[in-house]
Protein backbone atom coordinates (compact mmCIF):
# COMPACT_ATOMS: atom_id res chain seq x y z
CA UNK A 1 0.00 0.00 0.00
CA UNK A 2 1.54 3.35 -1.04
CA UNK A 3 1.98 6.13 1.51
CA UNK A 4 -1.13 8.27 1.82
CA UNK A 5 0.87 11.44 1.36
CA UNK A 6 4.23 11.45 -0.32
CA UNK A 7 6.54 14.21 -1.46
CA UNK A 8 9.54 13.18 -3.54
CA UNK A 9 12.23 15.79 -3.98
CA UNK A 10 9.51 18.42 -4.10
CA UNK A 11 10.93 21.75 -5.24
CA UNK A 12 9.18 25.02 -5.93
CA UNK A 13 10.89 28.15 -7.18
CA UNK A 14 9.39 31.57 -7.76
CA UNK A 15 12.02 33.27 -9.90
CA UNK A 16 15.13 33.45 -7.74
CA UNK A 17 13.26 32.54 -4.55
CA UNK A 18 13.19 28.88 -3.60
CA UNK A 19 10.09 28.14 -1.54
CA UNK A 20 10.66 24.39 -1.38
CA UNK A 21 13.96 22.66 -1.82
CA UNK A 22 13.92 18.92 -2.49
CA UNK A 23 11.36 18.06 0.18
CA UNK A 24 11.02 14.37 0.88
CA UNK A 25 8.16 13.32 3.12
CA UNK A 26 6.22 10.10 3.37
CA UNK A 27 3.22 9.72 5.66
CA UNK A 28 1.04 6.66 6.02
CA UNK A 29 -1.60 5.43 8.39
CA UNK A 30 -4.48 6.84 10.38
CA UNK A 31 -3.19 9.65 12.56
CA UNK A 32 -2.82 13.39 12.80
CA UNK A 33 0.46 14.86 11.63
CA UNK A 34 1.28 18.45 12.48
CA UNK A 35 3.18 20.44 9.87
CA UNK A 36 5.23 23.14 11.55
CA UNK A 37 7.58 25.83 10.43
CA UNK A 38 8.05 29.59 10.47
CA UNK A 39 6.37 31.96 8.04
CA UNK A 40 7.71 31.36 4.54
CA UNK A 41 9.11 27.95 5.43
CA UNK A 42 7.15 26.24 2.65
CA UNK A 43 4.21 24.71 4.54
CA UNK A 44 1.44 26.25 2.47
CA UNK A 45 3.47 25.77 -0.72
CA UNK A 46 3.72 22.04 0.05
CA UNK A 47 0.00 21.83 0.72
CA UNK A 48 -0.88 23.79 -2.40
CA UNK A 49 1.20 21.41 -4.52
CA UNK A 50 -0.45 18.43 -2.82
CA UNK A 51 -3.88 19.81 -3.67
CA UNK A 52 -3.18 20.94 -7.23
CA UNK A 53 -3.40 24.67 -6.57
CA UNK A 54 0.16 25.15 -7.78
CA UNK A 55 2.68 22.98 -9.65
CA UNK A 56 6.03 21.84 -8.38
CA UNK A 57 9.07 23.10 -10.27
CA UNK A 58 10.65 19.70 -9.69
CA UNK A 59 9.72 16.52 -7.89
CA UNK A 60 6.49 14.66 -7.36
CA UNK A 61 3.57 14.97 -4.97
CA UNK A 62 1.43 11.88 -4.50
CA UNK A 63 -1.75 11.20 -2.60
CA UNK A 64 -2.69 7.55 -2.17
CA UNK A 65 0.01 6.77 -4.73
CA UNK A 66 -1.41 9.02 -7.46
CA UNK A 67 0.62 11.92 -8.85
CA UNK A 68 -1.36 15.09 -8.19
CA UNK A 69 0.19 16.96 -11.14
CA UNK A 70 -0.76 14.32 -13.70
CA UNK A 71 -4.15 13.29 -12.32
CA UNK A 72 -5.48 15.62 -9.65
CA UNK A 73 -8.98 14.19 -9.92
CA UNK A 74 -7.85 10.67 -9.04
CA UNK A 75 -5.32 11.85 -6.45
CA UNK A 76 -7.90 13.87 -4.53
CA UNK A 77 -10.68 11.30 -4.95
CA UNK A 78 -10.50 10.40 -1.28
CA UNK A 79 -9.03 13.59 0.08
CA UNK A 80 -10.62 16.64 1.68
CA UNK A 81 -8.72 19.88 1.81
CA UNK A 82 -8.80 23.25 3.46
CA UNK A 83 -6.07 25.53 2.16
CA UNK A 84 -5.68 29.00 3.66
CA UNK A 85 -9.07 30.68 4.09
CA UNK A 86 -11.14 29.99 0.98
CA UNK A 87 -14.04 32.18 -0.01
CA UNK A 88 -17.35 30.67 -1.02
CA UNK A 89 -19.54 31.99 -3.85
CA UNK A 90 -21.28 34.81 -1.97
CA UNK A 91 -24.72 34.27 -3.46
CA UNK A 92 -24.83 30.63 -2.35
CA UNK A 93 -25.93 29.39 1.06
CA UNK A 94 -23.71 27.03 3.07
CA UNK A 95 -26.12 24.23 2.21
CA UNK A 96 -25.76 24.92 -1.52
CA UNK A 97 -21.98 25.35 -1.37
CA UNK A 98 -21.59 22.08 0.52
CA UNK A 99 -24.09 20.42 -1.80
CA UNK A 100 -21.83 21.39 -4.71
CA UNK A 101 -18.85 19.74 -3.04
CA UNK A 102 -20.89 16.63 -2.18
CA UNK A 103 -21.85 16.27 -5.83
CA UNK A 104 -18.27 16.83 -7.00
CA UNK A 105 -17.00 14.24 -4.54
CA UNK A 106 -19.65 11.71 -5.46
CA UNK A 107 -21.54 11.55 -2.18
CA UNK A 108 -24.64 9.41 -2.82
CA UNK A 109 -27.72 11.53 -3.39
CA UNK A 110 -29.66 9.86 -0.57
CA UNK A 111 -26.88 10.70 1.92
CA UNK A 112 -26.20 14.23 0.78
CA UNK A 113 -28.61 16.21 2.92
CA UNK A 114 -27.80 14.26 6.07
CA UNK A 115 -24.05 14.70 5.53
CA UNK A 116 -24.48 18.43 4.99
CA UNK A 117 -26.73 18.80 8.04
CA UNK A 118 -24.30 16.79 10.19
CA UNK A 119 -21.27 18.75 8.99
CA UNK A 120 -22.97 22.10 9.60
CA UNK A 121 -24.11 20.93 13.03
CA UNK A 122 -20.55 19.96 13.94
CA UNK A 123 -19.29 23.46 13.16
CA UNK A 124 -22.33 25.05 14.84
CA UNK A 125 -23.62 26.60 11.62
CA UNK A 126 -26.98 24.84 11.32
CA UNK A 127 -29.04 27.95 11.89
CA UNK A 128 -27.15 29.73 9.09
CA UNK A 129 -27.54 26.87 6.63
CA UNK A 130 -29.93 28.74 4.34
CA UNK A 131 -28.48 32.24 4.56
CA UNK A 132 -26.26 33.64 1.79
CA UNK A 133 -22.55 33.27 2.57
CA UNK A 134 -21.87 36.81 1.30
CA UNK A 135 -23.06 38.24 4.61
CA UNK A 136 -20.95 35.99 6.82
CA UNK A 137 -17.98 37.00 8.96
CA UNK A 138 -14.56 35.52 8.25
CA UNK A 139 -14.95 33.12 11.18
CA UNK A 140 -18.35 31.92 9.99
CA UNK A 141 -16.98 31.29 6.51
CA UNK A 142 -14.09 29.33 7.99
CA UNK A 143 -16.56 27.18 9.92
CA UNK A 144 -18.29 26.35 6.64
CA UNK A 145 -14.87 25.61 5.14
CA UNK A 146 -14.13 23.21 8.01
CA UNK A 147 -17.55 21.62 7.44
CA UNK A 148 -16.59 21.08 3.81
CA UNK A 149 -13.84 18.68 4.88
CA UNK A 150 -16.31 16.46 6.75
CA UNK A 151 -18.70 15.73 3.91
CA UNK A 152 -17.30 12.79 1.98
CA UNK A 153 -15.71 10.57 4.62
CA UNK A 154 -12.23 11.09 3.13
CA UNK A 155 -9.20 8.92 3.85
CA UNK A 156 -6.86 11.92 3.83
CA UNK A 157 -7.58 15.40 5.13
CA UNK A 158 -5.19 18.26 4.42
CA UNK A 159 -5.72 21.29 6.63
CA UNK A 160 -3.75 24.50 6.31
CA UNK A 161 -4.14 26.43 9.55
CA UNK A 162 -7.78 25.41 10.03
CA UNK A 163 -8.19 27.62 13.11
CA UNK A 164 -7.28 30.74 11.17
CA UNK A 165 -9.86 33.48 11.64
CA UNK A 166 -11.74 31.66 14.37
CA UNK A 167 -12.47 32.94 17.85
CA UNK A 168 -11.19 30.95 20.86
CA UNK A 169 -14.36 28.87 21.04
CA UNK A 170 -14.15 28.17 17.33
CA UNK A 171 -10.52 27.12 17.70
CA UNK A 172 -11.42 24.76 20.49
CA UNK A 173 -14.24 23.27 18.42
CA UNK A 174 -11.91 22.76 15.45
CA UNK A 175 -9.44 20.99 17.75
CA UNK A 176 -12.23 18.69 18.90
CA UNK A 177 -13.22 18.00 15.30
CA UNK A 178 -9.65 17.24 14.23
CA UNK A 179 -9.20 15.01 17.28
CA UNK A 180 -12.31 13.07 16.26
CA UNK A 181 -10.86 12.52 12.78
CA UNK A 182 -7.85 10.52 13.92
CA UNK A 183 -9.27 7.36 12.37
CA UNK A 184 -7.85 8.69 9.09
CA UNK A 185 -4.80 10.66 8.05
CA UNK A 186 -4.99 14.33 8.95
CA UNK A 187 -2.09 16.47 7.75
CA UNK A 188 -2.41 19.84 9.43
CA UNK A 189 -0.24 22.93 9.36
CA UNK A 190 -0.44 25.29 12.29
CA UNK A 191 1.48 27.97 14.12
CA UNK A 192 -0.22 26.95 17.35
CA UNK A 193 2.12 24.49 19.02
CA UNK A 194 -0.36 23.82 21.83
CA UNK A 195 -2.95 22.91 19.22
CA UNK A 196 -0.55 20.54 17.46
CA UNK A 197 0.49 18.98 20.77
CA UNK A 198 -3.13 18.44 21.69
CA UNK A 199 -4.40 16.91 18.48
CA UNK A 200 -1.41 15.41 16.65
CA UNK A 201 0.62 12.28 17.28
CA UNK A 202 3.39 13.12 14.85
CA UNK A 203 5.01 16.28 13.67
CA UNK A 204 6.95 17.33 10.58
CA UNK A 205 9.05 20.47 10.85
CA UNK A 206 10.14 22.42 7.82
CA UNK A 207 12.34 25.47 7.40
CA UNK A 208 13.66 27.24 4.31
CA UNK A 209 11.84 24.69 2.19
CA UNK A 210 13.62 21.71 3.75
CA UNK A 211 12.32 19.04 6.06
CA UNK A 212 14.13 19.20 9.38
CA UNK A 213 12.46 16.34 11.18
CA UNK A 214 9.47 14.01 10.93
CA UNK A 215 8.73 11.84 13.92
CA UNK A 216 6.34 11.32 16.81
CA UNK A 217 5.95 14.32 19.09
CA UNK A 218 7.47 12.29 21.94
CA UNK A 219 10.58 11.48 19.91
CA UNK A 220 10.98 15.01 18.59
CA UNK A 221 10.59 16.40 22.08
CA UNK A 222 13.02 13.88 23.55
CA UNK A 223 15.62 14.51 20.86
CA UNK A 224 15.43 18.24 20.48
CA UNK A 225 13.78 19.78 23.55
CA UNK A 226 17.04 19.74 25.53
CA UNK A 227 15.92 17.31 28.22
CA UNK A 228 14.45 18.14 31.58
CA UNK A 229 10.85 18.91 32.42
CA UNK A 230 8.69 21.94 31.89
CA UNK A 231 5.55 23.20 33.56
CA UNK A 232 3.31 26.18 33.04
CA UNK A 233 2.31 27.96 36.23
CA UNK A 234 -0.59 30.39 36.29
CA UNK A 235 -0.82 33.18 38.88
CA UNK A 236 -3.79 35.17 40.13
CA UNK A 237 -1.97 38.42 39.49
CA UNK A 238 0.55 39.66 36.98
CA UNK A 239 3.93 38.00 36.94
CA UNK A 240 6.57 40.65 37.60
CA UNK A 241 10.32 40.31 37.36
CA UNK A 242 10.65 39.83 41.12
CA UNK A 243 8.30 36.86 41.08
CA UNK A 244 10.03 35.36 38.06
CA UNK A 245 13.39 35.56 39.82
CA UNK A 246 11.94 33.98 42.99
CA UNK A 247 10.66 31.04 40.98
CA UNK A 248 13.98 30.81 39.12
CA UNK A 249 15.83 30.40 42.38
CA UNK A 250 13.83 27.38 43.49
CA UNK A 251 16.03 24.27 43.75
CA UNK A 252 16.10 22.29 40.49
CA UNK A 253 14.60 25.08 38.38
CA UNK A 254 16.84 25.72 35.36
CA UNK A 255 14.98 28.60 33.70
CA UNK A 256 11.76 30.57 33.70
CA UNK A 257 10.03 32.38 30.84
CA UNK A 258 6.86 34.46 30.90
CA UNK A 259 4.39 33.00 28.41
CA UNK A 260 1.95 35.84 29.07
CA UNK A 261 1.16 38.39 31.83
CA UNK A 262 0.02 35.75 34.33
CA UNK A 263 1.86 32.62 33.26
CA UNK A 264 5.39 31.34 33.62
CA UNK A 265 7.00 28.45 31.78
CA UNK A 266 9.23 26.79 34.37
CA UNK A 267 11.93 24.40 33.19
CA UNK A 268 13.46 22.09 35.71
CA UNK A 269 16.06 19.40 36.03
CA UNK A 270 14.23 16.11 36.33
CA UNK A 271 17.23 14.58 38.09
CA UNK A 272 16.74 17.02 40.96
CA UNK A 273 13.04 17.75 40.89
CA UNK A 274 9.81 15.94 40.13
CA UNK A 275 6.68 17.66 38.95
CA UNK A 276 4.88 17.24 42.27
CA UNK A 277 7.85 18.64 44.17
CA UNK A 278 7.97 21.62 41.85
CA UNK A 279 4.27 22.19 42.49
CA UNK A 280 4.89 22.09 46.24
CA UNK A 281 7.80 24.52 45.93
CA UNK A 282 5.85 26.99 43.81
CA UNK A 283 2.88 26.80 46.17
CA UNK A 284 5.30 27.31 49.05
CA UNK A 285 6.23 30.71 47.65
CA UNK A 286 2.68 31.85 48.47
CA UNK A 287 2.84 34.05 45.39
CA UNK A 288 -0.72 33.41 44.20
CA UNK A 289 -0.13 30.37 41.99
CA UNK A 290 -3.53 29.11 40.94
CA UNK A 291 -2.88 26.73 38.01
CA UNK A 292 -0.16 24.22 37.25
CA UNK A 293 0.15 22.12 34.10
CA UNK A 294 2.81 20.20 32.30
CA UNK A 295 4.20 22.29 29.46
CA UNK A 296 4.82 20.86 26.04
CA UNK A 297 8.38 20.23 25.07
CA UNK A 298 7.40 20.83 21.46
CA UNK A 299 8.06 24.53 21.74
CA UNK A 300 11.58 23.85 22.96
CA UNK A 301 12.14 21.40 20.17
CA UNK A 302 10.75 23.89 17.68
CA UNK A 303 12.98 26.67 18.96
CA UNK A 304 16.06 24.51 18.95
CA UNK A 305 15.40 23.29 15.40
CA UNK A 306 14.23 26.54 13.89
CA UNK A 307 16.69 29.26 14.68
CA UNK A 308 15.10 32.18 12.95
CA UNK A 309 11.79 33.37 11.60
CA UNK A 310 11.59 35.16 8.29
Amino acid sequence: MPPSIEARQLTKRYGQFTALSGLDLSIQGAKCVGFLGPNGAGKTTTMKILTGLIRATKGTALINGVDVASDKKAALASCATLIETPEIYPALTPKEALSMLCEIRGVPRQDKNKRIDDALARVKMSEWADKKVGGFSKGMKQRVNVASTLLSDPEVIILDEPSSGLDPRGMSEVRDIVTSLRDRLVFMSSHLLAEVTEVCQEVAMIDHGKLLVYDTIENVTAKFAGGGGAAEVGFAGNVDEQLRVRVSKLPGVTSTTKSNDRHLIVKYDTAVLTQDKLLESVAGLKAGAITFSQASGLEDAYLSLIKETL
Binding site: S4, Y14, G29, A30, K48, T51, G52, L53, I54, R55, K72, K73, A74, A75, L76, A77, S78, C79, T81, I83, E84, T85, P86, E87, I88, Y89, P90, A91, L92, E96, A97, S99, M100, L101, E103, I104, R105, G106, V107, P108, D111, K132, N145, S148, S152, D153, P154, E155, I158, R184, L185
Partner: protein, 283 residues
Protein backbone atom coordinates in the same frame (compact mmCIF):
# COMPACT_ATOMS: atom_id res chain seq x y z
CA UNK B 1 -8.59 2.63 5.82
CA UNK B 2 -10.73 2.17 2.74
CA UNK B 3 -14.08 3.86 2.82
CA UNK B 4 -15.58 2.20 -0.23
CA UNK B 5 -19.26 2.69 -0.81
CA UNK B 6 -19.39 6.08 0.82
CA UNK B 7 -19.02 7.78 -2.51
CA UNK B 8 -19.04 7.04 -6.22
CA UNK B 9 -16.65 8.06 -8.99
CA UNK B 10 -18.01 11.09 -10.81
CA UNK B 11 -17.36 11.57 -14.53
CA UNK B 12 -15.93 14.79 -15.86
CA UNK B 13 -19.06 15.52 -17.88
CA UNK B 14 -21.11 15.31 -14.69
CA UNK B 15 -18.58 17.64 -13.07
CA UNK B 16 -19.11 20.12 -15.92
CA UNK B 17 -22.84 20.02 -15.18
CA UNK B 18 -22.27 20.51 -11.45
CA UNK B 19 -19.92 23.47 -11.99
CA UNK B 20 -22.38 24.98 -14.48
CA UNK B 21 -25.38 24.50 -12.17
CA UNK B 22 -23.86 26.15 -9.10
CA UNK B 23 -22.13 28.92 -11.03
CA UNK B 24 -25.39 29.73 -12.78
CA UNK B 25 -27.15 29.74 -9.40
CA UNK B 26 -24.50 32.16 -8.17
CA UNK B 27 -24.96 34.37 -11.26
CA UNK B 28 -28.72 34.22 -11.04
CA UNK B 29 -28.76 35.23 -7.38
CA UNK B 30 -26.08 37.88 -7.70
CA UNK B 31 -26.73 41.57 -8.19
CA UNK B 32 -24.89 41.68 -11.51
CA UNK B 33 -27.50 39.57 -13.29
CA UNK B 34 -30.20 42.02 -12.32
CA UNK B 35 -28.00 45.02 -13.08
CA UNK B 36 -27.39 43.62 -16.56
CA UNK B 37 -31.08 42.86 -16.95
CA UNK B 38 -31.91 46.40 -15.85
CA UNK B 39 -29.46 47.87 -18.39
CA UNK B 40 -31.03 45.82 -21.17
CA UNK B 41 -34.54 46.76 -20.10
CA UNK B 42 -33.54 50.43 -19.96
CA UNK B 43 -32.10 50.25 -23.50
CA UNK B 44 -35.22 48.44 -24.73
CA UNK B 45 -37.50 50.82 -22.83
CA UNK B 46 -35.76 53.90 -24.23
CA UNK B 47 -35.96 52.52 -27.75
CA UNK B 48 -39.64 51.76 -27.28
CA UNK B 49 -40.38 55.22 -25.90
CA UNK B 50 -38.31 57.13 -28.45
CA UNK B 51 -39.63 55.20 -31.45
CA UNK B 52 -43.17 55.49 -30.10
CA UNK B 53 -42.89 59.26 -29.61
CA UNK B 54 -40.73 60.39 -32.54
CA UNK B 55 -41.56 57.65 -35.05
CA UNK B 56 -38.13 57.98 -36.75
CA UNK B 57 -38.33 57.15 -40.48
CA UNK B 58 -35.47 54.64 -40.21
CA UNK B 59 -37.60 52.56 -37.88
CA UNK B 60 -41.14 52.80 -39.13
CA UNK B 61 -40.87 53.67 -42.82
CA UNK B 62 -38.62 50.85 -43.95
CA UNK B 63 -40.97 47.98 -43.30
CA UNK B 64 -40.50 45.24 -40.74
CA UNK B 65 -36.99 44.44 -41.90
CA UNK B 66 -35.97 48.09 -41.64
CA UNK B 67 -37.43 48.25 -38.15
CA UNK B 68 -35.48 45.24 -36.92
CA UNK B 69 -32.37 46.47 -38.70
CA UNK B 70 -32.53 49.86 -37.00
CA UNK B 71 -33.44 48.49 -33.55
CA UNK B 72 -32.07 45.02 -33.07
CA UNK B 73 -29.34 45.39 -35.70
CA UNK B 74 -27.91 48.51 -34.09
CA UNK B 75 -27.93 47.33 -30.49
CA UNK B 76 -27.61 43.54 -30.49
CA UNK B 77 -23.80 43.67 -30.73
CA UNK B 78 -23.60 46.04 -27.76
CA UNK B 79 -25.80 43.70 -25.72
CA UNK B 80 -23.55 40.78 -26.72
CA UNK B 81 -20.37 42.62 -25.71
CA UNK B 82 -21.76 43.82 -22.38
CA UNK B 83 -23.13 40.36 -21.51
CA UNK B 84 -19.90 38.58 -22.42
CA UNK B 85 -17.82 41.05 -20.41
CA UNK B 86 -20.24 41.11 -17.46
CA UNK B 87 -20.53 37.35 -17.09
CA UNK B 88 -17.32 36.08 -18.65
CA UNK B 89 -14.85 38.86 -17.94
CA UNK B 90 -14.17 37.85 -14.37
CA UNK B 91 -15.38 34.25 -14.40
CA UNK B 92 -11.86 32.86 -14.01
CA UNK B 93 -9.95 35.84 -12.61
CA UNK B 94 -12.58 36.08 -9.86
CA UNK B 95 -11.63 32.59 -8.69
CA UNK B 96 -8.15 33.95 -7.99
CA UNK B 97 -8.89 37.47 -6.81
CA UNK B 98 -11.88 36.54 -4.65
CA UNK B 99 -10.23 33.30 -3.49
CA UNK B 100 -13.28 31.20 -4.36
CA UNK B 101 -10.90 28.96 -6.29
CA UNK B 102 -9.47 27.78 -2.99
CA UNK B 103 -12.89 26.31 -2.20
CA UNK B 104 -13.53 24.70 -5.57
CA UNK B 105 -10.21 23.73 -7.17
CA UNK B 106 -8.64 21.50 -4.47
CA UNK B 107 -11.28 18.85 -5.05
CA UNK B 108 -11.41 15.74 -7.24
CA UNK B 109 -12.46 17.74 -10.27
CA UNK B 110 -10.42 18.65 -13.32
CA UNK B 111 -9.77 22.31 -13.95
CA UNK B 112 -11.11 21.81 -17.46
CA UNK B 113 -14.48 20.71 -16.00
CA UNK B 114 -14.58 23.85 -13.85
CA UNK B 115 -13.68 26.00 -16.86
CA UNK B 116 -16.29 24.50 -19.17
CA UNK B 117 -18.92 24.53 -16.40
CA UNK B 118 -18.32 28.20 -15.68
CA UNK B 119 -18.33 28.94 -19.41
CA UNK B 120 -21.71 27.26 -19.81
CA UNK B 121 -23.12 29.11 -16.80
CA UNK B 122 -21.92 32.47 -18.13
CA UNK B 123 -23.24 31.65 -21.59
CA UNK B 124 -26.64 30.67 -20.18
CA UNK B 125 -26.92 33.89 -18.18
CA UNK B 126 -25.86 35.94 -21.22
CA UNK B 127 -28.24 34.09 -23.50
CA UNK B 128 -31.12 35.00 -21.17
CA UNK B 129 -30.11 38.66 -21.37
CA UNK B 130 -29.82 38.52 -25.18
CA UNK B 131 -33.16 36.73 -25.41
CA UNK B 132 -34.86 39.35 -23.23
CA UNK B 133 -33.58 42.09 -25.54
CA UNK B 134 -34.67 40.13 -28.60
CA UNK B 135 -38.14 39.64 -27.09
CA UNK B 136 -38.40 43.36 -26.36
CA UNK B 137 -37.48 44.15 -29.97
CA UNK B 138 -39.89 41.50 -31.19
CA UNK B 139 -42.72 42.96 -29.11
CA UNK B 140 -42.02 46.40 -30.58
CA UNK B 141 -41.80 44.98 -34.09
CA UNK B 142 -45.11 43.16 -33.73
CA UNK B 143 -46.73 46.36 -32.48
CA UNK B 144 -45.72 48.31 -35.58
CA UNK B 145 -45.87 45.44 -38.07
CA UNK B 146 -48.35 42.91 -36.70
CA UNK B 147 -47.86 39.35 -37.83
CA UNK B 148 -44.69 40.21 -39.74
CA UNK B 149 -41.52 38.70 -38.33
CA UNK B 150 -38.87 38.58 -41.07
CA UNK B 151 -36.87 35.39 -41.27
CA UNK B 152 -33.74 37.57 -41.40
CA UNK B 153 -34.46 38.63 -37.79
CA UNK B 154 -34.37 34.99 -36.72
CA UNK B 155 -31.11 34.54 -38.61
CA UNK B 156 -29.71 37.69 -37.05
CA UNK B 157 -30.60 36.44 -33.58
CA UNK B 158 -28.84 33.15 -34.33
CA UNK B 159 -25.74 35.03 -35.58
CA UNK B 160 -25.83 37.27 -32.49
CA UNK B 161 -25.85 34.16 -30.32
CA UNK B 162 -22.85 32.72 -32.20
CA UNK B 163 -21.13 36.10 -31.73
CA UNK B 164 -21.99 35.85 -28.03
CA UNK B 165 -20.37 32.40 -27.83
CA UNK B 166 -17.21 33.70 -29.53
CA UNK B 167 -17.12 36.87 -27.41
CA UNK B 168 -17.58 34.75 -24.29
CA UNK B 169 -14.56 32.67 -25.28
CA UNK B 170 -12.53 35.85 -25.72
CA UNK B 171 -13.70 37.18 -22.35
CA UNK B 172 -12.79 33.86 -20.70
CA UNK B 173 -9.33 33.98 -22.28
CA UNK B 174 -8.78 37.45 -20.78
CA UNK B 175 -10.23 36.23 -17.52
CA UNK B 176 -7.68 33.42 -17.47
CA UNK B 177 -4.85 35.76 -18.40
CA UNK B 178 -5.37 38.32 -15.63
CA UNK B 179 -5.72 37.81 -11.89
CA UNK B 180 -7.61 41.05 -11.40
CA UNK B 181 -11.33 40.86 -12.12
CA UNK B 182 -11.69 44.54 -12.96
CA UNK B 183 -8.79 44.46 -15.43
CA UNK B 184 -10.11 41.38 -17.21
CA UNK B 185 -13.64 42.84 -17.48
CA UNK B 186 -12.31 46.20 -18.63
CA UNK B 187 -9.98 44.65 -21.19
CA UNK B 188 -12.85 42.58 -22.61
CA UNK B 189 -15.10 45.64 -22.95
CA UNK B 190 -12.39 47.89 -24.40
CA UNK B 191 -11.26 45.28 -26.88
CA UNK B 192 -14.74 44.29 -28.06
CA UNK B 193 -16.26 47.75 -28.13
CA UNK B 194 -13.36 49.90 -29.30
CA UNK B 195 -10.11 48.18 -30.26
CA UNK B 196 -11.59 45.77 -32.79
CA UNK B 197 -13.65 48.60 -34.34
CA UNK B 198 -10.53 50.74 -34.70
CA UNK B 199 -8.68 47.79 -36.23
CA UNK B 200 -11.56 47.24 -38.68
CA UNK B 201 -11.55 50.89 -39.72
CA UNK B 202 -7.80 51.29 -39.99
CA UNK B 203 -7.42 48.01 -41.82
CA UNK B 204 -10.09 48.65 -44.46
CA UNK B 205 -10.08 52.44 -44.85
CA UNK B 206 -6.39 53.20 -44.39
CA UNK B 207 -4.57 50.03 -45.38
CA UNK B 208 -7.19 48.70 -47.77
CA UNK B 209 -6.95 45.24 -46.26
CA UNK B 210 -10.00 43.13 -45.49
CA UNK B 211 -10.00 42.75 -41.66
CA UNK B 212 -10.68 39.00 -41.75
CA UNK B 213 -8.71 38.65 -38.50
CA UNK B 214 -11.13 40.83 -36.52
CA UNK B 215 -13.92 39.40 -34.38
CA UNK B 216 -16.18 42.41 -34.84
CA UNK B 217 -15.68 42.23 -38.62
CA UNK B 218 -17.06 38.70 -38.51
CA UNK B 219 -19.86 39.85 -36.20
CA UNK B 220 -20.94 42.33 -38.87
CA UNK B 221 -23.20 39.58 -40.22
CA UNK B 222 -25.55 40.21 -37.25
CA UNK B 223 -26.68 43.56 -38.70
CA UNK B 224 -25.80 42.96 -42.35
CA UNK B 225 -28.28 40.11 -42.66
CA UNK B 226 -31.06 42.61 -41.96
CA UNK B 227 -30.13 44.60 -45.07
CA UNK B 228 -31.74 43.60 -48.35
CA UNK B 229 -29.84 43.15 -50.52
CA UNK B 230 -26.96 41.90 -48.37
CA UNK B 231 -24.11 44.49 -48.51
CA UNK B 232 -21.41 43.88 -51.10
CA UNK B 233 -18.27 42.13 -49.89
CA UNK B 234 -16.15 45.03 -51.11
CA UNK B 235 -17.21 48.57 -51.90
CA UNK B 236 -14.90 51.15 -53.44
CA UNK B 237 -16.17 54.71 -53.05
CA UNK B 238 -14.32 57.48 -54.88
CA UNK B 239 -14.02 60.86 -53.22
CA UNK B 240 -12.09 64.08 -53.54
CA UNK B 241 -11.61 66.26 -56.64
CA UNK B 242 -12.34 64.17 -59.70
CA UNK B 243 -12.64 61.07 -57.59
CA UNK B 244 -8.86 60.88 -57.19
CA UNK B 245 -9.14 59.12 -53.86
CA UNK B 246 -11.06 56.04 -52.94
CA UNK B 247 -12.43 54.59 -49.73
CA UNK B 248 -12.60 50.83 -49.51
CA UNK B 249 -15.02 49.12 -47.16
CA UNK B 250 -15.49 45.43 -46.60
CA UNK B 251 -18.36 43.30 -45.39
CA UNK B 252 -17.94 39.71 -44.38
CA UNK B 253 -20.25 37.32 -46.19
CA UNK B 254 -22.31 35.04 -43.96
CA UNK B 255 -19.99 32.01 -44.39
CA UNK B 256 -16.93 34.22 -43.81
CA UNK B 257 -18.49 35.82 -40.75
CA UNK B 258 -19.48 32.48 -39.25
CA UNK B 259 -16.00 31.10 -39.94
CA UNK B 260 -14.34 34.08 -38.21
CA UNK B 261 -16.64 33.70 -35.19
CA UNK B 262 -16.01 29.97 -35.09
CA UNK B 263 -12.24 30.39 -35.25
CA UNK B 264 -12.33 32.94 -32.41
CA UNK B 265 -14.57 30.63 -30.41
CA UNK B 266 -12.21 27.67 -30.71
CA UNK B 267 -8.88 29.50 -30.45
CA UNK B 268 -9.89 31.68 -27.51
CA UNK B 269 -11.60 28.81 -25.66
CA UNK B 270 -8.50 26.65 -25.98
CA UNK B 271 -6.18 29.55 -25.10
CA UNK B 272 -8.24 30.39 -22.01
CA UNK B 273 -8.34 26.76 -20.90
CA UNK B 274 -4.58 26.34 -21.34
CA UNK B 275 -3.96 29.53 -19.36
CA UNK B 276 -6.31 28.41 -16.57
CA UNK B 277 -4.69 24.97 -16.43
CA UNK B 278 -1.28 26.58 -15.98
CA UNK B 279 -2.29 29.40 -13.66
CA UNK B 280 -1.23 29.04 -10.05
CA UNK B 281 -3.07 29.99 -6.90
CA UNK B 282 -0.39 32.12 -5.32
CA UNK B 283 -1.44 34.83 -2.93
Amino acid sequence: MSREGSKAAVGSLVHVGIAAKYNFLNYFRARRFYVMLAIILIIAGLLTALVGYYRPPGFVDGGALGFYGAGWGSFASIVVVLSAAFFGGDAISGEFQNRTGYFLVPNPIRRSAIYVGKWLAALTASTIILAVFALAMLANGLFYFPGNVPWEFVESFAFAWVYLVAAMSLAFAFSSLFKSSSISVLMSVILLLFVFSVIDTVSSLVAGIEPWFSLTYGAGIVSNILNVPYPAAKTVTPFGPGGRFTVVSYNATVPEGLLILLVYLVVMAVLGLVLFERKEFTS
